[in-house]
């Protein structure tokens, strides 16, 4: 079943989405079938692409919209929101 879910998240990682947290996020994102998108200000990133996630230039405390659509969207949303809100390292 195709569903689309979204939520706005405040980044908890102390270094924002720098290389290491971005790599961890992308590895998790890739484990889902769904299409995963991050939106910050006017920029949109493919959540499975580390280059496009890095190019967001997101820092701790930034608010980021997480949009997920696909068969496992609900599960992915729960997991990825927790990752973004927590300290990715």
């Amino acid at each position: 079943m195709e569903t689309t879910v979204e939520r706005t998240v405040t980044l908890g990682s102390k270094s924002g989405l720098h290389a290491r947290p971005a790599a961890i996020f992308v590895q998790h994102a890739k484990s889902y079938q769904s299409q995963i998108t991050l939106v910050k200000d006017e920029k949109t990133a493919n959540g499975k692409s580390i280059l496009s996630v890095l190019a967001l230039g997101a820092e701790q405390g930034d608010r980021v919209l997480l949009k997920i659509s696909g068969s496992d969207a609900e599960t992915a949303l729960n997991k990825l929101v927790r990752l973004l809100e927590g300290d990715l390292g």
């Binding site: 290389a19 580390i50 890095l54 820092e59």
Partner: protein, 543 residues
């Protein structure tokens, strides 16, 4: 015998054969494919898989910051957007190598334009990922192998290339590009391997197997050294090795004079890497953390500062004395508007600037320090103080920050406060600071400069200053007589000619570069306190 010069990037001396690494020719971004699009795409996918497999192997042996860089690079190789972009270019006629190079360069450019200097620096990682894929496509994979001791000579070396090398065989690094604070310098210092970077034309001058001497302190490379020169370096290397062994016993001991009077030996640091080195070298604490180095890319936020102080203090598990920003007209900070001054050393700097711009500079730093002090022994040190009134003003601001935090539910303990004694005014009237401060630390470089009115950056007059002259010794003597605990954190603190005089006058803490901690402890153990006091008395009378 020929001499090349570059930028000293990591200290030390090495003698051995050169191993030159010549980079592959660059990719022509307009190169057209010879095969049809599906075949070229398949080649690209195969090359990406091989590049990932190679990086996985490198990653498995790396640790620390290098492992993090490699983990991010591995994700970059596997990036679906980068691959898709390249496949589209291949469909349009590009060769796989040209396509992946174009896409990688375009992402690198995008990252380089971000405000965040850390992310901008990642653009080099993206280019490197592109080059790795190209190397697989060409079948000219560039793994550098060192199976015997050698000195690596290259145009540039990426962290990934360094990770694949066996540090036991890596005697020194020479590169044509790079800066004193670049990737290569940081990795070489971490590995304790001499490095000279920015050596123009190194690859034109040096052949593989040619014998080299690399001096990482002076930034020189000697080609084909003569017999006498080789013998001299071999002798020095033996001395360094013997010295290192002899000093090892001092690492885990406190600083003690021959008659067991405890003189604390602390370290001066400017970064987390230096904090690690301080711990490794057996420093009993950090006597001077130069926080202005955190502001080289712009003023760090309270949160960023808190994370740094917290991380360093947990690493040390011993006192961490943090000097508040010592910023002035001669040390510009991006984003911070400080007017250029005719006399920056006598100008709007250090505590003066912090007091005049509290919301921007002083309060966020103090809040970060007070928060870090909740769990650690953090102490505050104020730079460029001349009068007690300045300290009173600072204390009022510190109280304000303390009340903010207490009303947020934190219960703070007393955080010791100290001042730098850099001006003759502070040294001569230190007794008037009693009750306001818990300790004082003499910054000998500035105190000497202000006492003799000699600009240490001016070669015409530099030699006229007398670091151990009677004027400076009298000032230190006056400071020690106040009964306020006195530390010394300038260059004199590590100087064997100065240590007996300083300790003899009453200094009980020496804060020195991390690499000098053991040798200072060793030196302290060679004299009794009475002998040092005798030397100090003689010096005060003689000079």
């Amino acid at each position: 015998m020929k001499l090349l010069r570059g930028i000293p990037a990591s200290p030390g001396l090495a003698l051995g054969p050169a191993l030159t690494v010549r980079s592959a020719p660059p990719v022509d971004p307009n190169e057209q494919r010879e095969a049809d699009a599906p075949a070229e795409t398949a080649r690209l996918e195969q090359a990406i898989k091989q590049a990932i497999a190679l990086l996985e192997r490198l990653k498995s042996t790396a640790s620390g910051p290098l492992a993090e860089i490699l983990a991010a690079q591995r994700e970059m190789l596997d990036d679906p957007e980068m691959k898709q972009g390249a496949i589209e270019l291949i469909a349009g006629g590009s060769s796989a190598a040209a396509a992946i190079t174009q896409v990688a360069n375009s992402y690198a450019g995008e990252l380089a334009r971000l405000d965040d200097p850390y992310l901008a620096a990642r653009s080099e990682d993206v280019r490197e990922a592109g080059r790795r894929i190209v190397a697989e496509l060409r079948g000219s994979r560039q793994t550098i192998t060192l199976d015997q001791p050698g000195i690596l000579v290259a145009r540039d070396l990426s962290p990934a290339e360094l990770a694949g090398l066996d540090p036991r065989f890596l005697l020194a690094i020479v590169s044509e590009t790079g800066s004193a604070s670049g990737h290569l310098a940081i990795v070489a210092q971490g590995l304790d391997i001499p490095a000279v970077v920015g050596v123009a034309g190194a690859l034109d001058e040096i052949e593989t197997q040619q014998t080299l001497i690399v001096d990482g302190e002076r930034g020189t490379i000697t080609l084909d050294p003569g017999e006498a020169e080789r013998a001299r370096v071999e002798q020095r290397l033996r001395e360094v090795e013997n010295g290192r062994r002899a000093l090892e016993v001092y690492r885990d001991r406190p600083g003690l004079t021959a008659d067991n009077v405890w003189i604390e030996v602390f370290a001066n640091i400017g970064s987390l890497a230096e904090a690690r080195k301080a711990v490794e070298m057996g420093a009993e604490g950090v006597g001077l953390f130069r926080t202005e180095l955190l502001a080289s890319q712009g003023l760090p936020s309270e949160e960023v500062q808190y994370q740094v102080y917290e991380e360093i203090a947990s690493l040390l598990r011993s006192p961490l004395i943090v000097r508040t920003f010592d910023i002035g007209g001669d040390k510009p900070v991006p984003g911070l508007d400080i007017p250029a001054e005719a006399n920056p050393f006598l100008g709007w700097r250090g505590l003066r600037l912090s007091l005049d711009r509290p919301e921007e500079l002083f309060l966020p730093q103090i809040r970060a320090l007070l928060r870090a002090s909740l769990a650690h022994d953090v102490r505050i040190l104020l730079p460029m103080v001349s009068t007690p009134e300045e300290v009173e003003a600072a204390l009022a601001l510190i109280d304000r920050a303390r009340r903010d935090l207490e009303s947020a539910g934190h219960s703070l303990r007393h955080v010791p406060l100290g001042i730098m004694v850099e001006t003759p005014a502070a040294a001569l009237t230190l007794d008037r600071f009693t009750g306001l401060i818990d300790f004082a630390s003499i910054g000998t470089n500035d105190l000497v400069q202000y006492t003799y009115a000699v600009d240490r950056t001016n070669p015409r007059v530099r030699e006229r200053a007398r670091p151990l002259g009677i004027a400076v010794l009298r000032l230190i003597d006056a400071a020690c007589r106040t009964g306020i605990p006195i530390a010394v954190c300038g260059q004199l603190a590590a100087d064997p000619a100065a240590i007996p005089l300083l300790v003899g006058l009453g200094v009980r803490e020496l804060s020195v570069p991390p690499a000098r901690v053991s040798s200072v402890k060793q030196f302290l153990s060679t004299m009794t306190l009475a002998e040092m006091q005798q030397r100090a008395r003689e010096a005060l009378e003689r000079s």
